[in-house]
Every structure is written in C-alpha cells, then in structure tokens.
Subunit: 347 residues, 2 copies
Amino acid sequence: MARKSPIAPQDITIFDVAREANVSYSTVSRVINNKGVRADKRERVLRAMSELGYVANLQARSLAGGKSNIIGLLVHSLTVEYFGEIARGVDEELAALQYDLMLYTTHRRKGRESAYVTRLTRNLVDGLLLVLPQNAETYLETLRHRRFPHVLVDHQGVDFDVPSVGATNWQGGYDGTHYLIELGHRRIGFITGDMTMGCARDRLAGYQQALTDAGIPVNPTLICEGDFLQPQAFICANVLLDLEQPPTAIFASNDVSAFGAMEAIRTRGLHIPGDVSILGFDDTPQSAQVHPALTTIRQPLAEMGRTATQLLFTYINEPDAPIKRIELPTKLVVRQSCQAPTVSSLA
Amino acid sequence: MARKSPIAPQDITIFDVAREANVSYSTVSRVINNKGVRADKRERVLRAMSELGYVANLQARSLAGGKSNIIGLLVHSLTVEYFGEIARGVDEELAALQYDLMLYTTHRRKGRESAYVTRLTRNLVDGLLLVLPQNAETYLETLRHRRFPHVLVDHQGVDFDVPSVGATNWQGGYDGTHYLIELGHRRIGFITGDMTMGCARDRLAGYQQALTDAGIPVNPTLICEGDFLQPQAFICANVLLDLEQPPTAIFASNDVSAFGAMEAIRTRGLHIPGDVSILGFDDTPQSAQVHPALTTIRQPLAEMGRTATQLLFTYINEPDAPIKRIELPTKLVVRQSCQAPTVSSLA
DNA sequence: TCAAGATTTGCAAGCGCTTGCAAAATGAGA
DNA sequence: TCTCATTTTGCAAGCGCTTGCAAATCTTGA
C-alpha cells in the first residue's frame, strides 16, 4: 500500500512502463534513447511514462550504457564572483541538455585536482570542464591520452594543444588602454593580475602595445604587479598615486582589483572619475552596482561557460573532433568611472 | 596491449582485484564496505587494490547497494559570495567523507526546485542540502513523506518542523545594535534584508529589541526596507542620509548592503566611520578587504555548510533521528567601520 | 581431541538499464 | 498476390557491484 503513492513514483522502471504501454522493455529503452521505434508505439510509451511518472535511473543507464549524463566541473573556489559567473553559464547550458553537474572545488590542497580527475574520469562523468586550472600539466596528459572529453576554461600557457575556451585578453587590454588614450589620458597606470597566468600577461601586453601604437612610451613605474585580489590592488593603487607624477587613469586587470583601486583613491579623498579614472576587466555583476558604476572590459564569463560546455559536448559526441581553442571577444562597457583627464588631475 | 596502461587503470574491477589477491570477489566487496573480513585477507586485498589502482565504479555500487555517495546541493545562485561560502563548507565536509557533490542552481525558473527534487531523490543522491530555498513548501512535504534525508540551510518560516541549520539572526541583530549603542550612537539607521525571509525579519527584530532595551524609541523613519542587494541599499542609505536628522550609524542587514551604504556615504563626501559608522552582517570574505574594513556580525557561513552536512549524514545513517534545527552563534567582528559618533555627526 | 557455536567465505541473484542478435512485421517491386 | 529487402521488435546477456544464504573455517570449552 505504501508503494504506489502518487507523490512518490519510487520504483517505476522501464518494465512497468513496458507493461503499461504493452510493449517490450527494450522498446521503452529505445524510446528513451531515440532509437527507431514506430510512431504509434512511441506514443504509447511516452504516454505511459508520463502517466506513471517514470524517471530514469541514471546509475543504471550509466552502468549499462557507459554514459552518465553528468559532467564534472572543477573550479578553485566558488566565492569568487568570476567563477560563479562561469559556472552559471555551464549550468544553463547543461540544463538545456538534460545533463547534471558534479562540482569539485580545489582551493584546499594543491594536488587535489589530479586526484579528482582520476576519480571522475574513471566513471561518473562523461566529460570534464576545468576552470582556470592550476598545475594542469600533471593530468592534462592523462586526459588526452585516455581520450577523455575535457575543455579548459580561461586557460593558457600549456605548450601543447588543449581544448579550451577563453577571451581575447590581449585585445581587451589593448582596447581598454586605447579607450583611455582617446579620452586624453597619457599617464595610465596598470595593475596587473597574477602574472603566472597567461591571461594576466596578455592583458598587460595589450596595454603596452596600445601605448606604443599611440606613441606613448611604456613607463614601468606605472605598472604595478597585482594578483587579481582586492588588497594587493589597494596597495598598488597607493603606490601609483604616490608617484611624483601619478597616473590620471588606472587600468586594473580585473574588476576586483579595480574595486581595490577605487577604495584607495577615495580613501585619499580623491574623486572618481574626476581626479582619477578607473577601468576594470571582467564585468562581474558587482561592477554595475558600485558607485560610480565601473567602466570595464567585459569578458563574457557566462557565455564562456556555455561555449565551453558546447565544445565539451562536441568531444563527447565525436571524440575525434579536432582540438580547438575558442576565444570569445571582450568588449568595452562604458559606465561612469572614466572620463577625460581634468586640468587639475594633469597638474 | 592498449589495455593495461599504467596511466589508465581503466577497467579494473573487483574481479581483477580478487584474482590478484586470491580471494573471492565478494570478499573484495566486503573489504570495500568494511564488513568482517579476516585481517590477513583484508591486507592482501588492500595491497592488490593499490597495486592495480582500483577505483570503485560508483554507478555500480549505487545500483547494487542503493547508495550513491553523492549528495545534492541546491542553491539559487553561485555568484553571491554568501552561497559560495556555504558551499565551501559543504564541500570541505564532503571531501572528508568521501562523498561527491551534485550541484543545482535554480536562479532561472521558479518551479525548478521542485523538478530537481523529484529527479534527485529518485536516485542519484543520498541526501539533499537546500540553501535558502524559496517556495520550499511544495516539495518539503514530499521529502518528508518519502523520508528522504534533507537539511535546509538558513531557512525559517515553514510552519512545520524541518531539519535545518541557521544562525542566531535575532541575536546578531541585537548584538550589533547594542554595540552601536555602546559606542554612543542614538540614531541608528537600519537597512533591512528581503523581508519575505525569516532571517531578515529576525535581524530587524533584534535591532528593535536592542533599542527598546536601551530605552531608545524605535523610529520607523530610520528603518528602510532593502533586499540584501547593493543597489537598493545604496538608495536606502541615501534616504536615511537625507533625513532631517540623519543617523550617525547604519546597520545593514548584510555585507553587500553595507557596501552599498558605504558607497552612498562616500559619494556624498562623507567619511566612514568619521561621519557615519557602518555595520554589516555576514562577514563575507570581501568585508575584510574593503576600506575601511567592515565591522560586521559574523555568520559562520562555511561552518553552517559543514554543520548542515553533518546533520544530513546523521539522517542518512539513521533515518529516524529526530528533526533538529541547529542555530550557530553569530559574532561581532570589529574592524574599522564603526566608531563613537563625533560632535559633528551629531550636529 | 571433539562437538557446538561463532565467524568468515563463496556463490548466485539481482539492482535498472543498453544493445547485439535473430525473429517478426512491414514495405516495395514484380 | 508473393518474394525479398528493410525496418521494427523482443530476448538475453551483461555493465560492476552488494548481499542473503549456505558452506567452510575457526574458536572455544569440556
């Protein structure tokens, strides 16, 4: 009696559906898997499934068919807005594909990623998304060798080809700097990201090239090494502002750094953008919520997540698809934190 | 030949281990599951497992044994630091328990949660953690009825008992207000959270009680309804600051709101805490990184995640354990955003 | 040393599904 | 209308594991 509660379609299997639809259980399976089944039977099966409230048992499908309909997502941390945005994109795409998401964070131990990779690829997931992976070399080789579907998000710097999705960091650095130059700035400070990462290096390179192209010499004292985090950016901004000839604009390598710089500026009683313009990078949700709203180089984070997921699925479906690196375009988002340098700021 | 690559311990099953250890496959299974096995055999099996690089197939275990060693985590959004922190706690605890985490975000569709719950509880996960669930009533009943292990994190307001972990929101509101009063503030503005949530109401109630206990009348004009988000808090702070008698301190119902208020204050050229003190709630990582560093009521978010996970496991292991609500203590974290009101601010 | 109980072990069945194979049903061409 | 090629269908096996049951082994006390 406790069995067939309408609230709990507990134990309904393909056999139940088959009986109800008056077909064999393999026909039900074929309907589920979209194999050739005559239209009328398919109808009957579908109806029976919904009437009974059938829900496939993923474990069983996976065990029998070798597909789990789960993909793994490896990130460092969830508390960083940046990761959250990417995860959001992944999640959206997955929902559309009827896949589930297994989440792993690795912020604790260093070697953890490797262990997870082994675990996951063994079974459990059909593919792996690695967001900004650290010491990836150790397991990337394994993944490739096993021909296990995987895509890196926002990663650069491995010497061999690896499927990945990123943004046009160099171009973003270039465009941002160019924008500042067009506004009339000549002394443009730059707070770098964590320079062990390719994206940080590319952004800096874009900045330098834009200056050069505009005939402005690259001044190393205007470049301060940050780490993508707020406290260090705060320090950097102070260093830049303490310069004998402080910059009239500061280009931070990510939004979080920009926030740090904004605080430093305001702590000194200076105004944004009146005294100093601030330009960020990322366009995390918060950047539109601060005051003044942050002008920034938009990295389509959620879309990167989505694109990476799609790419992953091409590998899941055709393991021999060529290794691709997709770069999504960055874009300048003008808000309120930049303006032409004022006479006083130039003084 | 491609088979037994040392890099890819692909198809090693308990049968392989059994052969290697010269025992029956069920003995291997028993070793894995910590059932009684004689010490020497257990030794042999363990050795064989590590030599062969055996990794259990979770799908199979789950299918056969009814346990998946996965728990589900349902959150709205990942981009909010708050959720990330809780997830971190969950994740840490899970890692220790050798469990995996299936992540579901529900920020898109409203009714999505219900659908997920059905899906998940069908098989797939052994338990469910629901963080700040919205229209929980719809499926909470189902979960309870099926006796499916679940714990809510930071939730209140359902009329029947439900296993949950939260923080002492009322006390936090009380303590924060008390602290401000002790500093000498009399006109203390309050920016509420989303008042549909129990935690927001409790914090407000704590604030009111603290005022009352101190003999300070509760002034409704000093209370402005926010929604836990930065833009609305910015607006609220401006409303409060526009008052004929503006507050000398503002207590925001979460850190994000506090950031919004800080911006509003600074946009007016006022200083924190010189002109206005700011007190937050949550103690998200960012609150220590802003300037001045935010004094706030710490909610042990990660620990709430950990505790909820532990509680969930008691239900997984003993389905009849009594329904508990655990409240973790909040704590005042003094940083730099509050001070005694100055003569000028009182003017 | 032996019997009786306690423990450990092995076998087989089965979890819910996919899929190769062969049989049945269908369609086309003559 | 009948045959042959084609599609659809059903059966059985098996994915890797857990677990009840009965047989084998060990332990203990007399």
